[in-house]
Symmetry: none
């Protein structure tokens, strides 16, 4: 029996997968986690054959969660699941130990094929995702498009900047020296390779960091 853990905060998605699998013999949804914390708890005592992991979760992001899962669990096959068809996310996810990638506009047949493939030890990318990845490899570099890992504080700053606060305002709000705020901002700009706060926010939005 292939037991599946779904990690997704949308009941709609979990339900949709349930419907897609209802006539598939030997495959069943055994656990549903609505966030990263729940997922970790479940994986503490169970070993699903397949983990369907939504990349955009409320409490953490799927990339980090994938990495975290792989530390203790090499057994389960992880299939990423999002609506964003972004090559840089896909490649990163695969680097972090995922076995496949599905877009949320998938058909039933794709889901079944993906499960089949990864259980067979192969990697599955949904058709559209596959194209994106190939496109990326042919178009110059992966370095430019990879999402840099931001620290907690940096994400916080990024959010406040995107809320429209300026340096001094953020410093006041977080009880920090304005020097510190500028340092964080500088590091953010360096990581995203931009030269102004406005570009920082633009790129961050494009990479779905905010």
């Amino acid at each position: 029996m292939i037991n599946i853990l779904i990690i997704d905060d949308h009941p709609l998605v979990a339900g949709g997968i349930e419907t897609m699998l209802k006539d598939a013999a030997g495959i069943q949804i055994q656990w549903i986690a609505k966030n990263g914390a729940e997922a970790i708890a479940i994986l503490g005592k169970a070993e699903p054959e397949i983990i369907l992991l939504d990349i955009s979760l409320p409490d953490t992001d799927g990339l980090q969660l994938c990495e975290k899962i792989r530390v203790t669990n090499k057994y389960s096959k992880i299939i990423g699941l999002t609506s964003a068809n972004d090559a840089s996310i896909i490649t990163q996810l695969l680097h972090l130990g995922a076995n496949g990638y599905l877009l949320k506009n998938m058909e039933r047949s794709e889901l079944l094929e993906a499960i089949d493939k990864v259980m067979d030890g192969k990697v599955y990318l949904s058709k559209a995702a596959n194209e994106k990845v190939l496109e990326q490899f042919s178009s110059i570099s992966s370095a430019i498009n990879s999402i840099p890992s931001l620290t907690r504080r940096e994400k916080e700053l990024l959010q406040l900047l995107s809320d429209g606060l300026n340096g001094p305002q953020i410093a006041a709000k977080l009880f920090l020296s304005h020097y510190t705020v500028e340092t964080h901002r500088k590091n953010l700009m360096q990581k995203l390779n931009v030269s102004s706060t406005q570009l920082l926010l633009k790129i961050a939005r494009e990479k779905k960091l905010i």
Copy 2:
């Protein structure tokens, strides 16, 4: 019997709704359309009690489709369905004759409640969506929320700013004195009543000016 038409290009969503409704007596999904064209075709020969309409469709947008449906069909109750919790879209949709609005992160209970309410002739807004709308209506005045009229040049500047260009870059691109650019920027900030370019862009985005 309450017959439902789902208009959504994601089989996952349709399946999810199916799962949510599977134990609900007297309610059934009768038709599924993957795009606007299919929906129109179906509505040519059927009258669903409920139409669940995804706002983001491949061939048309849900707002237009809603309007189109209402021309010939006053009977069906239309419930908008998206993942974006955006007050302006919600109000627009309701103006176009929709009877409700659900977010895709809804729970089963919300879906059932929504169906119940609209069948009863009422309007249903999902909890989170409701807050947004109230927020919009209550936030002081319509004056603040009213969209100021921008001149052609101002719109152009706004776009370039949102593309990440700074003052001097815009001046160079448009062959203008940087003084002129700053004047336009100043006027924009005054019209939108903000004190920094970042806030300008934030508000402009919220008002869908860019």
